[in-house]
């Protein structure tokens, strides 16, 4: 800036050089200020665990329908919120509830732990639990069928909550592993999406949707302080970036590692790979309400035409296990069935008997992001069906379009992954295969009755037996072709201890320590 001698110039005048200098300065200041990007508030404390999951966290509201069973959200919710009951391996263990009992067929009494507090310092009470149940019942989500027969939850006193069901409900304790407890005043608070208040071992310090979640340890947690000062969960969309970040130590933990990427991290110094069969599996439903899949023999022919052992082995290797039931082998209620024998000649005979000796044309829809190698799996199966004269039009579509068509049964075959979120057959078999659910057009009154009996039965061999029978009906009626269970590959820094791989992709990160 210089002073001009020009009459009437008023003292100062910005010359070209000044202008350019100012512009440069302005750009630099924008650059410098922009370096503090993040947008979602504060970060995790120094020394935080950096853990990257393969899907983005989009919101943290425990009652948001869109993310009710979304794995990425559930991972964070299990750190920020508490549930009355927790799953520890195959067992259900007390969480916020120190104990519970079933006083009669329709009444369950849960006793809350004393001393539990929310992140804002207020105590956790039975009234909060009752409000949370009311809220979750009011929201239509993938959890809705789990709570349909729970008529109410009442606070008998500050530390006792009574659940009443309209009939026997053996799966109530396992369902409660999905009821996240928040203060009653906040159950419908929009702020819960971004800065939720819970009573879990970590509190949210920063959240940029679909990008990162930053957590800091909650020192007043009733279960004791975690060894970790915090947890940072960046979302790394690009697989090669994520693998590189793990190899170079930019992140401490990465899961699930896609099957075709496992060799990239196996044997790398400082990285430990732990594979665990997950509760996530591929299914290929036949639309049983649409010809020719209304005929069970046509569906069976489709199952016999696919060489699943070869496809699973060649495509997924250690990353997949061929299924022998409509649910993964580690899920409660699983009963192994006789695998479909690969026999194209027998499949052709079945088609001929159904009047389709010359084959037919059909279609298969999926969206690529549904799971690893989905396109390759679809193409391999489509190729197998071509050998028996069945022409399948591949329809790789966008998720939004897929969902639209899925709901309206506007498809012939649907390939997708599915997760048994609770690790219990009730969640998948009991929810999806009833005639009322009408998810793939299959209607079988005998199965309906069986599933109703299974839902009412208390946990134990009787219940498992009933779900086992249901598995048999679904399998032998070929409601779908169930190719494989995905094996979750956990890649972690070898310096971490206390980490236990979880089949539901929701490991307990609070238990992790650094060596």
């Amino acid at each position: 800036m210089r002073t001009t001698g020009r009459p009437g110039a008023g003292g100062t005048h910005m010359g070209r050089r000044d202008f350019l200098a100012m512009a440069g300065l302005g750009s630099a200041s924008v650059l410098v200020s922009g370096c503090g990007f993040g947008g979602g508030g504060g970060g995790a404390p120094k020394g935080a665990l950096r853990a990257a999951f393969g899907q983005p966290v989009t919101d943290l509201d425990p009652y948001n329908a869109a993310t009710a069973v979304d794995e990425a959200s559930l991972i964070v919710k299990r750190l920020v919120f508490d549930t009355l009951v927790r799953r520890q391996g195959d067992r259900l263990v007390p969480g916020l509830a120190s104990g519970w009992e079933r006083t009669n067929d329709t009444t369950w009494v849960f006793t809350l732990r004393r001393g539990a507090r929310f992140h804002d310092g207020t105590p956790v009470t039975a009234a909060d639990v009752a409000a949370c149940l009311k809220r979750t019942r009011a929201v239509a989500s993938a959890q809705t069928p789990l709570w349909a027969s729970v008529t109410k939850a009442e606070a008998r006193d500050d530390h006792t909550v009574v659940f009443t069901t309209d009939g026997p409900l053996g799966s109530l304790p396992v369902n409660l592993t999905l009821l996240f407890v928040v203060p009653a005043a906040r159950v419908a608070d929009p702020e819960q999406k971004r800065r939720p208040i819970g009573s879990g071992p970590f509190r949210v310090t920063g959240f940029t949707p679909s990008t990162s979640v930053e957590l800091a340890r909650f020192d007043d947690y009733w279960g004791g302080r975690s060894d970790l000062p915090g947890i940072s969960m960046p979302y790394i969309a690009e697989t090669s970036s994520a693998i590189t970040a793990l190899r170079t130590g930019d992140i401490d933990l990465l899961w699930p590692i896609p099957p075709d990427q496992l060799p990239e991290v196996t044997g790398v110094k400082g990285v430990t790979v732990e594979p665990v069969p997950s509760w996530t599996y591929y299914l290929n439903w036949f639309n049983c309400s649409r010809a020719p899949f209304t005929d069970a023999n046509v569906r069976r022919a489709m199952c016999q035409a696919v060489n699943l052992p070869q496809i699973v082995d060649r495509l997924f290797g250690r990353g997949g296990q061929q299924m022998r039931a409509p649910i993964p082998a580690t899920v409660a209620g699983y009963a192994a069935q006789e695998p479909w024998t690969y026999d194209p000649a027998a499949a052709k005979r079945l088609l001929a008997a159904a009047g389709l000796g010359r084959g037919f044309t059909t279609s298969m829809m999926w969206f690529d992001a549904t799971g690893p190698l989905s396109r390759e799996l679809a193409e391999a199966m489509i190729s197998s069906w071509a050998d028996i004269g069945v022409t399948v039009r591949p329809q790789s579509i966008e998720k939004a379009q897929w969902l639209e068509r899925l709901n309206s049964l506007d498809w012939d075959m649907n390939l997708q992954t599915n997760t048994v979120t609770t690790g219990d057959a009730a969640f998948t078999v009991g929810r999806l295969y009833t005639s009322k659910a009408h998810r793939m057009g299959y209607k079988n009154p005998a199965l309906d009755q069986l599933l109703a009996r299974a839902a009412a039965a208390p946990s134990g061999s009787e219940r498992d037996g009933l779900y086992g029978e249901a598995c048999k009906i679904i399998w032998s009626d070929a409601v779908g072709l169930f190719p494989l269970t995905l094996v979750t590959g956990y890649g972690r820094s070898s310096r971490l201890t206390g980490f236990t791989p979880a089949p539901n992709n929701q490991p307990d990160l609070a238990a992790v320590r650094r060596r």
């Binding site: 590189t244 966008e398 639209e404």
Partner: protein
């Protein structure tokens, strides 16, 4: 100058309105029901109806459009049904990250492209000139997502020099910015080279050399200033390009900017966020163009709004 800026602002409003209208139509024409994406496959018809009503999706399209325009005029682009808050607020919260990435890419392009162009101009047709010409074509032909992955494998995995993802550090910005800049470095170099060759043949350059001015000064001061106007034009457009191209780069490098937000919003039919992101990009593009126009006058005193 005031009239000139006012005229350009008027044009900018028309362009922004056009972009808004186009995006409004496109996002609604694409198949996919936001209500079903919000509620998932287990929602009842009543609940879907309720959500559609909440977000005004049950109104006729013309009414939605008018309400949308009314909202825009009041600075309200609606709420994100996925993220919960104001769509414009979410977008602006992420915009500094995109701006940072684009500015660093621009700086890299200038720092590398300008001297490279000058060097090529000093020895036209020689090895460096041919390399830059070929490299410029290859650089622009290579898809940016592929280039990004290759650079990650090279600089992060093999050499370990830079982080593979955005980690909030200054080093974290280099790789994505370089990926964004690389295709345009050769492009700028060629522009500078051609300009320098053209200017180099003029009398004032010959005079400067005759007076014994060192060659470096001749090139970077005398010639450089005279080719600045076309270069600034290109840089203005480049900056707009970088902001737009950042959409893909941000996903590859997990960069927390407007691009990754937009991809997520498109996938999930979050109309308000898509519209807010496109509007932000459009306005920034227009603002850059306006800035370039103003900079012309600062660079070349012979230019006036009348003869520009």
């Amino acid at each position: 100058m005031g009239a000139f800026v006012a005229k350009r602002l008027g044009q900018a409003v028309i362009v922004a309105w056009g972009a808004l209208t186009l995006v409004f139509i496109i996002v609604r024409v694409v198949p996919g029901d936001p209500a079903k994406l919000i509620l998932g496959p287990d929602a009842s018809a009543d609940q879907l109806k309720h959500v559609r009503s909440d977000f005004g999706l049950d109104h006729p399209l013309w009414r939605q459009y008018l309400e949308h325009l009314g909202g825009v005029l009041h600075g309200d682009l609606g709420d994100s049904w996925r993220l919960g808050g104001s769509a414009l607020g979410d977008t602006l919260e992420r915009f500094p990250a995109t701006l940072t990435l684009s500015l660093v890419a621009l700086v890299l392009t200038i720092l590398l492209g300008f001297p490279l162009g000058m060097l090529c101009a000093r020895r036209p047709g020689k090895v460096l000139d041919l390399l830059v010409s070929t490299g410029s074509l290859v650089g622009q032909a290579v898809p940016s997502f592929w280039l990004g992955i290759v650079l990650i494998l090279l600089f992060a995995r093999e050499l370990g020099w830079l982080p593979a993802t955005a980690d909030g550090s200054l080093a974290g910005v280099l790789l994505p910015a370089f990926t964004l800049a690389l295709p345009f470095i050769g492009w700028l170099a060629r522009l500078v080279r051609n300009g320098a060759l053209e200017e180099g043949a003029k009398d004032y350059v010959r005079t400067a050399r005759a007076k014994g001015v060192p060659e470096g000064l001749v090139q970077y001061v005398h010639v450089g200033r005279n080719i600045a106007v076309p270069v600034v034009t290109v840089l203005g457009l480049l900056m707009g390009n970088f902001i737009a191209n950042a959409v893909i780069i941000e996903v590859v490098f997990s960069w927390p900017g407007i691009g990754s937000l937009m991809v997520d919003a498109i996938t999930n039919r979050d109309y308000a966020v898509v519209e807010a992101a496109v509007l932000t990009m459009t306005v920034s593009y227009i603002a850059l163009n306006l800035l370039v126009d103003v900079v012309y006058f600062a660079l070349d005193p012979r230019l006036t709004p009348e003869n520009a």
